[in-house]
Amino acid sequence: MTTTGTVDLRAYLGHVELPNPVLTASGCAGMGRELAQFADLTRLGAFATRSITMAPRAGRPTPRMAETPSGLLNSVGLQGPGIEAFLEEELPWLAGHGVRTIVSIGGGSVAEFAALARRLADATGVTAIEVNLSCPNIEDRGRLFARDGSSAAEVVAAVRGATRYDVPVIAKLAPDVADVVAVARSCVDGGADALSMINTPQGMAIDVDAMRPALAAGSGGLSGPAVRPLAVRCVWQVHAALPGVPIIGMGGVLTGRDALELILAGACAVAVGTALFHDPNACPRILRELEDLLHERGFDRLADAVGLAHRPVLRNDLKESSL
């Protein structure tokens, strides 16, 4: 049975309407062209670029990846060609193909984030800007912006100030922080129109045959289903504290069920990362599965499911369901 078209799947990031809630996660979908060989990018809710930096970056040495139970450790280190090459070669391709594009940016200082936002301000084809706060602040001995509410807020305010009013600014949060709600609140106070979570928490694996760390960089970011409970918890806590703020949930989404879990926790959209490495057709499949699940549960609109798990269970509901 097909249910296509029976559920209103629109999702909103601030004032921007997305036709559906399934996005790609930053750094997991290449430049777009690679994924376009498998799936139609215009059918995505939006495509997120890897984090774009000011200068070209060669990234970290290899090995950069290690498989862990239901997860993946990576230490790519934001390899990319820099913003000029991105604006010349990558963004025009995405815009030319009608792909709604969330441009992720990564910098080492507030000034660098602001400069990146200014370079993007007059570019065509930017649906939203996502601020990757899991970058070390070179002015604070390399402490991640995501671990410090006030510097995170400064970055968000600087990017918001340099960005056109109709382009939402999304702050991307890390889960391995003392108080994710406090950082989220600081970002919203700084002007973030939406939040995305989670970025990869730091993990490590040791190759017991070589008796050395599996990654050349030592530690790396953990992704995949192994981190999904962390993502659900972060989305849950932030949605409870800031129910009006749109959240893009991500972390280990492999199926429509996983997407629905994050939506019930409070996400209005979900992003798919590591799953794309396993199944390049994951996004359209997850969207189909999600739509079927919503339909089966009697939802006409995705929006009605957002954060639903927070609603207290009413005695009436219990009675009806036990009939």
């Binding site: 690679e34 498998f38 890897r50 060669a58 290899t62 080492g108 799953a275 199944d279 057709n281």
Partner: protein, 287 residues
């Protein structure tokens, strides 16, 4: 133009032991149709609810027109993924993506080619040999491994090559030593114009050094750890010198796996060379 890969569910036709290896043939017409020598495929291992999420990469050994098109690859059991694959049986299904990567470039005119393979790396050379012979090229093989049971394809090489030189490290078959030790002699004897090679990194480095010494081009197929195989993740990079002389960290799965040997900075694999585009200057480390 690169071919467009596809994701298919294929049915296993046969799986058999070939000396130390397993050869698995799967029905996948859409992959077989697009195949060119040097392509690889990736396989999802562990079943639908797998906890091993990264796909395993294998060079394509052969494609055949049977059942609309079959793809065969040859593998050695290493860890969880390849153990699972070795337990597949006829009529099981496999989730396959391919063909992937940049295939071996072919010479415009007939020429003399030495094909060098080590361990299961030899597997990808036979489809190449067929195409080269079809273009009137002379083929000579140099195949090697640690021991006789790990030399793949010696019989087939003897059948189609002008000459076949075998090496084993334990001396159980052919000459004692490694393929690169005998390569200079074979190139001289056959007056070869080009070398094609597939095998472990150290072997490719040694083969490239011989080819540079004798001033002929080498096309080498590298094997780097890959999380996706489709160009999405940037984990499979190695330092390669571009046409403009600039070293970049390029993806083995997308820009490779076949590279001009002398362009690959084998000595620097596992590092970011200081002169690579975007190499860290002083304060590094982000993400």
């Amino acid at each position: 133009m690169a071919v467009t890969p596809v994701q298919v569910t294929g049915t296993v036709l046969t799986i058999r032991r070939v000396d130390a290896y397993h050869a698995l043939t799967v029905v996948a017409p859409a992959v077989a149709d697009r195949f060119r020598p040097g392509h690889f495929v990736t396989v999802s291992t562990g079943g639908p609810a797998t906890a091993t999420l990264t796909r395993r990469a294998f060079a394509v050994h052969d494609v055949k027109p049977d059942y609309g098109g079959t793809v065969e690859f040859v593998f050695t059991v290493r860890g969880a993924g390849t153990s699972w694959l070795a337990a597949r049986r006829a009529r099981d299904t496999l989730d396959l993506v391919g063909p992937l990567g940049r295939p071996f470039p072919l010479p415009r005119d007939p020429c003399r080619c030495v094909l060098v393979g080590s361990e299961y790396g030899s597997a990808s050379l036979f489809a190449l040999a067929d195409v080269l012979q079809g273009r009137g090229c002379r083929i000579d093989f140099v195949l090697g491994a640690a021991s006789a049971d790990r030399v793949f394809g010696a019989l087939r090489a003897r059948r189609i090559g002008e000459t076949t030189t075998l090496t084993t490290e334990d001396g159980s078959l052919g000459m004692r030593g490694q393929v690169a030790d005998v390569l200079a002699g074979v190139i001289a004897d056959t007056r070869a114009d080009v070398v094609y090679a597939c095998g472990p990194r150290d072997m490719l480095r040694a083969v490239t050094a011989v080819a540079i010494e004798l001033d002929i081009p080498a096309q080498v197929s590298v094997e780097e750890a890959m999380a996706c195989g489709t160009g999405l993740c940037m984990t499979c990079v190695l330092p390669v010198i571009g046409d403009d002389g600039v070293t970049r960290m390029v993806r083995a799965c997308a820009e490779g796996p076949v590279f001009r040997g002398e362009r690959v900075r084998f000595e620097d694999v596992g590092t970011i060379p200081f002169d690579a585009l975007g190499a860290p200057r002083g304060l590094g480390g982000m993400g």
